[in-house]
Symmetry: D3
Subunit: 169 residues, 6 copies
């Protein structure tokens, strides 16, 4: 059973809305290396393993990744809402599809479960997780480099640090 | 922030594993009308609305739908694990991809976020939710008709009842 | 049996070709909320229902939506043809793929039948139609706001009005 | 502008409903080589060409292909409706998704506009059409071989003959 | 530059054609864990790295994986050709789409480059390769268990052994 | 069995890296009309035909097309590597996903085997090849028109000439 608390894992703040950067952030919301991929991958793997300790660990990480998804979603919300009507100049994506996050990557491609790597064997599943964390890490590093404000950068560095921690588990 | 409790929303029980029915159940795990669609649709919509009451309601339903996803996943786990090695006769899908749930529909098509309907406007979003509940309801009714055991049937009837409750909210 | 007349439902005119806006218009030609989705959804639903009155109504709307698809296609044709060779500066999409409409959305994602919501039950199908009209309406409103010329705006307002009429049927 | 008449291009008849064959027929309704691909390909190409004669020919064929789509849809309707409730034994697809046609191929994969080949040049477009007709023809021949009743066979042979006629245009 | 020799990496033999097993083998031809995924992943990664030794190693493995793809393709050819006309009873897929391999998985889903994990960093790329080999290995083990004849089994065991060798590089 | 030589079919040179043009070039690397489509289409068709002369010809062309894929990949590598860190201004795609080629088209859509046209019959397969070459040719012509430097233009003209040669075979 899932529960939800209103607080984010860690509060996020955006110093100045930047819809174009909001669009780049979609990469970690609805992109191949993003938090939905991570959350769904750990979640589905938890059904495949019988060892209760590993099952719990996988579920715990899944739940944390859903919380990260929420943080990235809030960042995107902050980068697109409260923006002047001429948002189309900066990001036609949000002008056409509405402000706030969508399950698309930064180029507008819809998220697909074919990004998930899992099945049949716990060793395979854990190797897939290490690879997925490496992908998430590379993308967060790219986004940190592109981040236009300190608030976004801090949030992304926090998320990057968590991916590294998962790899070490 | 998401939290997780080990208990399911409602305990589920399978009287006799039936991998073929396990495969049909994928329809509500990784299918177009399934619980991942519902959970992700309510979740992403919650970022689009400013009214705190509606925002909370959308998040509450999203969290419940994730819990339904978990129930369906457990049913699939029970229908495919503890099955003799010749599972390939009944369901080549689980023989090739591993037992337990996957984010596929009953025909093996990977889940896609293009199943989600949302964006730009709270009225549109709520209409999309009513339509999605109607789709989930139709699929649950079909699965209840196909269910080979009482345990599965009870779980599915419970889930069906919840979808009807959401439509009335 | 389908028939075709050369005249559009309503003549369309573009005051000044704007390939960038032509690309945004793809949203209603090959996008999730677009006219192909609407036309195919009503059309396929007409096979599911036995009541002749509802069957006819669904087919009538399908045929009208194909006509709307044609109007949007003509608008895109007018916004991309007769443009100087340096169209690549404004829209690399049309420079690479050719002028005129394609079954892509404004971000270049190919149209997929997973946008369609239908199946098994007339109540579900009609709810899906109400949701689809709400999505189309939201997208037309966004495009009206982005429209660079009066001719495009008029055509889009007409199409928007028709979607509202369908919802009231 | 599109119009519609209730009569099919040619009446179709099914001697005995066979849901499994109904599922194979999806290949020409929502499959890669099917009538939706053909209709949409000719339709979208008609916007790319300036020569009025070729434009008209492309539109005429598009309209005929939509009519073929309707015939295939009716065949699928006849093969799945009026079938006993245990349709799940023969075709879980229709049991789960509802009777009648869907924009899926015979293996349940949703139709995608990436099946369409078009763009930028009339010579390319016409070559793509010849290739598409060859694919449709091969699939109709396969279905004729698998057809369980004379009524279905006659309808498919008629459709096959029309594809050959288009290739010779 | 690529070159080709007629000989397979290792000759393959099928004792008795079995179209149903031929369909399962598609899992390693056009499936997520299959040889096309492996070959394309190593190939595209070779462009991302500047170290000539790693670049060569990635290309060498890519070329070997293309050779494995050819072996799996030949196996599928042998399991589907020379089969009586009533192949539709055993595998409607090959009856409808033609004998021999296709870039589909065993459930008919078309191969997609979203199965590939790569980008931006050599460490990430190598971790992705280890995960991919683990997936391929799990699938080969499943297929060995399902193999109906000694010839197929031998070929699959050989391919399985090669994946393990790559993981140890 | 495939082999590989380090030399390209024809050396390629880029006078001045241009990441934006590198992105357009993806059209022929991971796009619908690109070299992966061509190579995979000829390769898979070679398994369907029994005539040894046609089989060899199809394989020979497949191998050449893989070599063309490599040339396009090298061009993209040269247009994106050695570029200043502010590549995000010119192409957010490479900034987020890493430099060098990816199996995406110029709009970021992942390559899909549904671009391939093949199956069941050699006449159909050869017609599909003529159509595919016509598509590749149209795209190369568009890219030649957009090419910002002489080196890229020369390489693309060479590739264009080869497609025309294949059509005449």
């Amino acid at each position: 059973m899932f529960l939800h608390k209103k607080e984010l894992f860690r509060p996020v703040q955006v110093d100045k809305p930047n819809p174009r950067f909001g669009q780049y952030l979609l990469e970690q919301f609805g992109g191949a290396t993003g938090e939905l991929t991570a959350a769904c991958q750990y979640f589905v793997q938890s059904f495949h393993v019988d060892n209760p300790g590993i099952k719990d660990m996988l579920l715990d990480i899944a739940v944390e990744e859903f919380g990260h998804l929420e943080m990235v979603g809030r960042l995107i919300e902050l980068h697109t809402k409260g923006v002047k009507p001429n948002i189309a100049n900066d990001s036609p994506l949000f002008a056409a599809r509405g402000k706030g996050p969508h399950f698309l990557d930064s180029l507008g491609v819809t998220w697909s479960a074919s990004y998930i790597n899992e099945g049949g064997d716990v060793v395979r599943d854990l190797r897939a997780d290490i690879a997925a964390e490496a992908g998430a890490r590379q993308t967060y590093e790219a986004l940190v480099n592109m981040a236009p404000d300190e608030g976004s950068k801090k949030a992304l560095v926090h998320l990057l640090t968590r991916e590294i921690a998962h790899t070490n588990m």
